[in-house]
Amino acid sequence: MADEERQPSALIGVLLTLGHIVTSALQRLGYATRFLIMLLRWSGQSFRRLHLTIREIYFSGFQSLLIIMVSGLFIGMVLGMQGYDTLQRYGSAEALGVLVALSLVRELGPVVAALLFASRAGSSITAEIGLMKTTEQLMAMDMMAVNPIARVVAPRFWGGVLSMPLLAALFSATGVFGGYLIGVVFIGVDNGAFWSQMQASVDFRYDVWSGIVKSFVFGIAVSLIAVFEGYDAEPTAEGVSSSIKSTVVKSALAILALDFVLTSFMFREAG
């Protein structure tokens, strides 16, 4: 009897929780969309002060160079070793250059660079904006008739969007150099074959361009998540720390999911 009574109430409880999750997710999505519209609306004003965006390109882009290039080099070197190991079994070690370049330009460059960018620059953007909110700096700015979205958010967003494709390109370039270092310099794959096969097989339209498009889309996703999480942070120490965590987790998931979607479109196009 008691069980019969409990069952419907448990079901209602589950439904209520589910309903709450769905409505709050939708509400947040709506809020994020409104935020994006505001961001785009105020971007014009922020571009009129170009030095603000350039400053953010320096902080997000230039200061991420070291981690991006070192990681690219290592990934390229690992690709060189693994690729050689597999290719030489089929007697096609000269194709190492193609393997390294295609893996980097199409996939690893944009994806790994974006993941690194999210944890290096995205998290610091969220922390900075979140702390400015916590210390009432954003509110003070608003009271001084300066729009915080134009002054603080938009420059950081565009700084990230513009930096990302450049960082991904540099990641791929240092990665190819890493593959060359291991394959040609240390293992002794033929230098001419390494480069000429790469040149012949890497297509600008399908390979390089698709990598650029991907990194641009990842740049938009990571930058938007980073500025939104910061702006929307609960103004407490706990709130800011949870927003930073959110930026890293959501960016990683967004990058991987978007990569899947973009890759499937690009394959269809290529085929």
Binding site: T135, E136, A145, V146
Partner: protein, 271 residues
């Protein structure tokens, strides 16, 4: 046609979602006066400042500043009005990434076309008024709490506002800094021909410097008068406040069950 009162509030209600904060507030702030809003923590004083500054919208009632209805203004008009308001936040809310000088120069650079030389002279004059001309090159992190408050004060008066609002200007200051800030609030108001609204719970300091005091409790105005009237008041709330008694109309205890019941009940802690 300037009205006699700079700020006029009539039948104002405000609620956060369904939690009422302010109920039926009506008050006038005459031009040129220094007015204190007093009351215990959480009685809605700061909310009232935010309503006057247009950061929140009332659920009912009127707020007029210099004859303009604040809730009816669009974003542009509101910013135009805020350029004529200065606000000092509780912890200063200085921009931590720029120097003291740049903090005070911020609004001048944002809202005027003045040359850097004129801005330099104006900033140094404002800093001189708060006694910190010598500290112009310091970063906010290098200032003591009292100094940061004075810099924030210089920033709030950067564009010679008609209305200056202070949110807890005395909180957390040593007696010397407290006295200095109190004197500055009065002097700057008179020198600039401005009007001042000060939200505070520091009764003794306020009685020295203000022209008029409003007492708030539970989202309502419970008493008002000049400092002399307040000192002589027999109103139980005012009496408790002026004489700093722990218990009275404002209870010492947060609402709870009777202590004996709580002790005997057991087991439900934190539930």
């Amino acid at each position: 046609m300037p009205t006699e009162n700079l700020v006029e509030i009539k039948d104002l209600d405000f609620a956060y979602e369904d939690r009422p904060i302010l109920q039926g507030i009506s008050l006038d702030i005459p031009r040129g006066k220094v007015v204190a809003m007093m009351g215990g923590s959480g009685c809605g004083k700061t909310t009232l400042l935010r309503l006057i500054g247009g950061q929140l919208r009332p659920s009912r009632g009127q707020i007029r500043v210099d004859g303009q209805s604040v809730p009816a203004l669009n974003a542009e008009e509101l910013y135009a009005l805020r350029r004529r308001m200065g606000m000092l936040f509780q912890f200063g809310a200085l921009f931590t990434d720029i120097s003291v000088f740049d903090n005070v120069a911020y609004q001048m650079r944002e809202h005027t076309d003045l040359s850097e030389e004129i801005i330099r002279d104006m900033v140094l004059m404002k800093l001189n008024a708060v006694g910190l001309r010598g500290a112009h090159a310091l970063m906010p992190a290098e200032l003591s709490g009292g100094m940061a408050r004075r810099v924030a004060l210089a920033r709030a008066i950067a564009l010679d506002p008609m209305l200056i609002m202070y949110d807890e200007p005395f909180a957390g200051l040593d007696p010397i800094s407290l006295g200095i800030i109190g004197q500055l609030i009065r002097q700057l108001n008179d020198a600039l021909g401005a009007t001042t609204i000060m939200v505070t719970h520091d009764i003794q300091e306020s009685l020295h410097i203000v022209d008029y005091i409003y007492f708030m409790s539970g989202g309502k105005i419970v008493a008002l008068g000049t400092p002399d009237e307040i000192r002589a008041s027999t109103h139980p709330f005012v009496h408790q406040f002026v004489h700093a008694q722990a218990d009275g109309p404002v209870p010492f205890h947060y609402p709870a069950k009777a202590l004996a019941q709580e002790m005997l009940g057991g087991g439900s802690h934190g539930g």
